[in-house]
């Protein structure tokens, strides 16, 4: 039985930089496919939005296995953005999302400035409600450096994407930087309509018995409940540094977690790794937000945004 959020009189609708969401909950890219895999568990059309797995122009094969490792209250992954390319997304997933009436954010990846633009251009006629630009990819135009760690690269890629579309443009930041607020301001100045964060934290795990790393690629992205304090801190910093709305994520698995992110300044939130443990996590989070608002006498979820008392 596919779950849906329960009925409520609380206004749950939010506006994320021009993207109208029926409630403030989407999913973290890469944890939910394009929703098809979870539709037996939750009616994905009832989510604030579905954020699709990162898509590149011609597809990527991804990294060698093993690609994941469980760590204390979290996990590491090095999937390597495996995806079949933008044409597959246009042929299969986007028509399906449109047919069920889902709100769709497409996560855009690239290995070069041109690739991001080409992906967006390929999608401009497709049923897409917003783009999320993943700037945590290595950039071949800059010697493999992660795009999102370098202010001039952020300005350039966001500016090029901005020029390629009038649709809401969300820029997803990596937390693996010294000053996340500086990167956020650069993205805003280059035309971002919203900022999403955090992508995974770079980490690693070792098997002492075999003396080998647990991931084939040695290092990978750390996610899950363990990262929540870091994510909250960065959302709070960024919300204070920019005037565009923030999509917060990192370790959210309950309605209370989501409310904490909204209090820290997020307009909307994404459920990521929790989907792996609990296939109804998205709807559980929405229901939890409703429970919180009803019990606290909050009639509009927008009242929570940035409501932290400090």
């Amino acid at each position: 039985m596919s779950r849906e959020p329960r009925a409520t009189n609380v206004n749950l609708a939010v506006n994320l930089g021009g993207l109208a969401m029926k409630n403030p909950v989407t999913v973290a890219s890469g944890t939910f496919g394009a929703g098809m895999e979870y539709h037996d568990f939750v009616n994905v059309a009832t989510l604030g939005a579905v954020t699709t797995k990162g898509v590149s122009l011609n597809g990527w094969e991804g990294n060698a296995s093993p690609r994941i490792a469980e760590t204390a209250s979290g996990m590491l992954n090095s999937i390597g953005l495996q995806n079949p390319g933008v044409q597959h997304l246009k042929d299969i997933e986007l028509p399906w999302l449109e047919s069920i009436g889902a709100t769709t954010i497409v996560n855009v990846s690239g290995h070069s400035f041109d690739e991001y633009v080409s992906v967006i251009e390929a999608l401009e006629e497709a049923p897409v409600d917003a783009y999320e630009v993943n700037i945590s990819c290595p950039n071949v135009d800059a010697g493999g450096m992660t795009m999102g760690c370098h202010v001039p690269s952020v300005e350039k890629v966001v500016g090029l994407c901005r020029a390629a579309t009038k649709r809401p443009l969300i820029v997803k930041l990596t937390p693996n930087v010294t000053d996340v607020a500086e990167i956020a301001r650069a993205a805003e100045a280059a035309g971002a309509d919203a900022i999403s964060l955090i992508n995974t934290l770079l980490g690693m795990a070792v098997d002492a018995r075999t003396r080998k790393p647990l991931l084939a690629r040695v290092v990978g992205g750390f996610s899950g409940p363990a990262v929540k304090p870091v994510a909250l801190r960065m959302v709070w910093q960024v919300a204070g540094a920019v005037s565009v709305p923030v999509l917060g994520m990192g370790g959210i698995s309950s309605g209370t977690d989501a409310v904490e992110f909204m209090l820290a300044g997020a307009t909307a939130v994404a459920v990521g790794t929790a989907n792996f443990c609990n296939p109804t996590a998205t709807v559980d989070v929405i229901d939890g937000i409703i429970d919180y608002c009803e019990s606290q006498g909050v009639s509009d979820v927008n009242e929570l945004i940035g409501g932290l008392l400090c």
């Binding site: 895999e37 469980e70 992954n77 999937i79 989907n275």
Partner: protein, 264 residues
């Protein structure tokens, strides 16, 4: 094919031998729709810091009773924790997941090869083959006699004793089970009653060897692969297997693959 996420009360959970345990749970929706070779993705309660589910092969699914049996070897934190569950506890599980065994059309003679707890996901296949009137030869390999926990069920389903080996020689042939597989294939060739299907589940080196023997004998072979898994439903791409058609997900494109598709 619909996936269910059921809260499944534990009915029994006992050691069958040699750190191999059997758990029976009530999960009527999964039991009613499971096909041989599929698995369940189990959330074990009380694991706090260990957030991921554990994939376990379905050893038996009883439609009438609404129960699912799982056989598991105690190998790490999750399976160690599972042994502490008793009747009255419950696990949460997603299932039935994946592409199971796909017996070729018109199959008349099958060779089923299981290593260790690989005997679990093969048992429902043996039942199905027997029900279809397929002549089944079964080879079970294990480390020692106490680890041959599926032998009696196999015997009951087959109506005869499966061919067994133990690494330490405490039961059946001493050593690995691969010479028994070779012998079965050779005898079939000599008698003219060739196998038309080989199914194998166990340690990957065993599956690889059996796959190459089957290939040499010209018999269609399937193997069931295991990978570290996060979502278990095809979304996260953690569990990919290298195949001749590119990377495929062990969870939903497998776990059973035609052996010729696998890049070992």
């Amino acid at each position: 094919m619909t996936l269910y996420n059921e809260t499944a009360p534990v009915l029994a959970n006992e050691e069958a031998g040699c750190r191999i345990w059997l758990m029976t749970v009530r999960a009527p929706e999964i039991a009613a729709t499971a096909r041989p070779g599929q698995f369940v993705h189990v959330k074990i309660p009380g694991m706090e810091g260990h957030i991921l589910r554990r994939p376990l092969g379905i050893y038996a699914a009883d439609r009438e009773a609404g129960t699912v049996d799982m056989m598991y070897q105690v190998l790490g934190f999750g399976t160690e924790h599972m042994t502490e569950l008793a009747a009255g506890d419950a696990v949460e599980m997603i299932g039935p997941i994946g592409r199971g065994w796909e017996v070729p059309e018109g199959c008349k003679r099958a060779l089923v090869v299981a290593g260790g707890v690989g005997s679990a996901p093969l048992y429902p296949l043996v039942e199905e083959l027997v029900a279809r009137g397929v002549a089944v030869t079964s080879v079970l390999g294990a480390s020692t006699i106490d680890a041959l926990v599926a032998r009696e069920r196999y015997g009951a389903a087959l109506g005869c004793e499966p061919v067994c080996s133990t690494d330490d020689g405490t039961f059946g042939h001493e050593g690995f089970c691969t010479p028994l597989v070779e012998e079965a294939l050779r005898e079939a060739a000599a008698s003219g009653e060739l196998f038309d299907y080989v199914a194998c589940c166990g340690p990957e080196p065993l599956m690889r060897l059996v796959a190459s023997m089957a290939e040499e004998a010209g018999v269609f072979c399937e193997v069931s692969l295991e990978r570290r898994m996060a979502c278990g439903v095809g979304a996260c791409l953690s569990c990919v297997v290298d195949t001749v058609d590119g990377k495929k997900r062990a969870c939903v494109d497998g776990p059973v693959f035609p052996s010729k598709k696998v890049v070992w």
